[in-house]
């Protein structure tokens, strides 16, 4: 029988677990001389191996360059509430030549998308969408009833826009296919493609707007009833579509279901992330 573990219980268990006493205390060791190779060890054979190794690295880097050239453009489009579009084209920085791709070769039942956006505004215009999207950033009134599209190619979205960071974590249930730190991974089975997340927040009613302004701008605390009211309204008004564009140019879009109860329960401990589940399973790298 499944039991329920409350937030408080989990918190107290984790606190106790990580504050446990350690029976060990390591000591700082002096560095062993044997770790430092002495000059005679560099024999002729070692030199040959090094040259071959350097040659292989050269070939790999050269190949990687083509990979980057093949997909080094990205477009970021923001349709602000006032209808203006801000489009940015850029290239991936050359230092990110070590692009890796993950073969998406496993069947997965569903996956979660934690979407975090940070929207930079200049006046009432969207200047840039920089990173992750703690949904709280949607509470910016200028973005109500707006659509945000971010599409990137390949990974290392962290430098998509200047020095700021775009981060998606695409986490596969019960699997370890987590994206790398701040990386934007595209899984499509071919090793290339793009992914677009479209988040749409329908207009909220006047009461919800008042509550948002109270919490977001004045910093006043809302009562728990007000929170419940606001987040009920909020989560029922957010839609997330995911579009995967494949290497051959074809693309598919599916709407993600917001796991309302999960998002709501997460809020009890800290700002929730929107957790969405794909309507249909992703199979063999294709939306099916």
């Amino acid at each position: 029988m499944n039991k329920k573990i409350s937030d408080e219980k989990l918190d107290s268990m984790l606190s106790a677990y990580f504050k446990k006493k350690s029976p060990y205390t390591f000591r700082v060791k002096e560095h062993k001389k044997s770790r430092i190779p002495s000059i005679p060890m560099f024999r002729f054979s070692t030199v040959i191996v090094c040259v071959l190794f350097a040659f292989l690295i050269g070939i790999c880097l050269d190949a990687a360059k083509y990979v980057v050239v093949a997909g080094n453009n990205f477009t970021l489009t923001v349709d602000a509430a006032n209808g203006e579009t801000n489009e940015v084209d850029n290239k991936f920085p050359t230092e990110f030549v070590n692009v890796e791709f993950n073969d998406f070769d496993k069947n997965v039942d569903d996956f979660e998308v934690a979407i975090d956006f940070d929207v930079h505004l200049r006046g009432d215009r969207v200047q840039a969408v920089t990173y992750t999207a703690n949904y709280a950033h949607f509470l910016i009134p200028q973005l109500w009833n707006s659509t945000i599209r971010i599409s990137g190619k390949e990974k290392y979205g962290s430098n998509l826009i200047g020095t700021t960071c775009t981060s998606y974590s695409i986490d596969y249930e019960d699997d370890v296919r987590y994206s790398d730190d701040d990386a934007f991974d595209v899984y499509d089975g071919t090793g290339d493609g793009s992914i677009t997340l479209v988040c749409r927040l329908d207009p909220l009613d006047t009461r919800s707007k008042e509550l948002l302004e109270k919490s977001y701008y004045s910093g006043k605390r809302m009562s728990s009833d007000e929170y419940t009211e606001l987040y009920d309204a909020f989560f029922r008004n957010v839609y997330v579509d995911i579009t995967v564009t494949y290497y051959d140019g074809s693309s598919e879009t599916k709407q993600l279901l917001i796991d309302y109860d999960h998002a709501k329960s997460s809020f009890k401990s800290f700002d929730p992330v929107i957790t969405a589940t794909l309507v249909k399973p992703l199979n063999q790298g294709r939306l099916s």
Binding site: I5, M13, K21, F26, E112
Partner: protein, 165 residues
């Protein structure tokens, strides 16, 4: 090593050991991380800003070293306790543990050890040394939103494991 640094070593070795053991599921790996952290701290001591607590500086070296280590390919199922004594020692190390909680802590231990590295680091910093979410964000140089989502993911995974058990 100069005297000041030696004092730091004396003062912080026990806590650094605990941190390394919390981060790594394997004692040998933990000791390697410990040695590497002190080595880096010693090499970069000139860059240490005295206005910042040494402990936090040291810990940030440690977690970033851990983060940069080559990622394990998939979650390796490791044998967590080699002997029954190891298991008893682990349970005794947890403060105020009750007999009923023992199974939960064993499951938690296994679940924490199979968490992906990026989720585990966030969790360790938050609970091990009471870092705030923004301190974790600064230490790991990742956005605050990412810290929050990782924390949420980590806790969801752990909760699921505990509830399924």
């Amino acid at each position: 090593m100069d005297i000041v640094f030696e004092n730091y070593v004396r003062e912080h070795s026990a806590d650094l050991t605990r941190l390394c053991v919390s981060l790594c599921s394997d004692l040998t790996e933990a000791e390697d991380l410990f040695q590497e952290t002190w080595l880096k701290a010693m090499k970069n001591y000139g860059q240490y800003n005295c206005d910042y607590p040494f402990r936090k500086w040291l810990f940030s070296i440690c977690v970033n070293t851990y983060k940069d280590k080559k990622r394990l390919f998939y979650n390796k199922r490791k044998k967590l306790f080699k002997t029954t004594e190891d298991k008893t020692e682990f349970l005794n190390s947890i403060p105020d543990i009750t007999r009923e909680d023992c199974d939960d802590y064993l499951t938690l231990h296994e679940a924490v050890n199979s968490l992906p590295k990026k989720l585990r680091v966030v969790l360790v910093l938050y609970y091990f040394d009471d870092y705030s979410l923004s301190e974790i964000s600064d230490t790991l140089k990742i956005p605050l939103g990412t810290v929050k989502s990782r924390m949420n993911n980590a806790k969801s995974i752990l909760r699921r494991r505990l509830e399924d058990e």
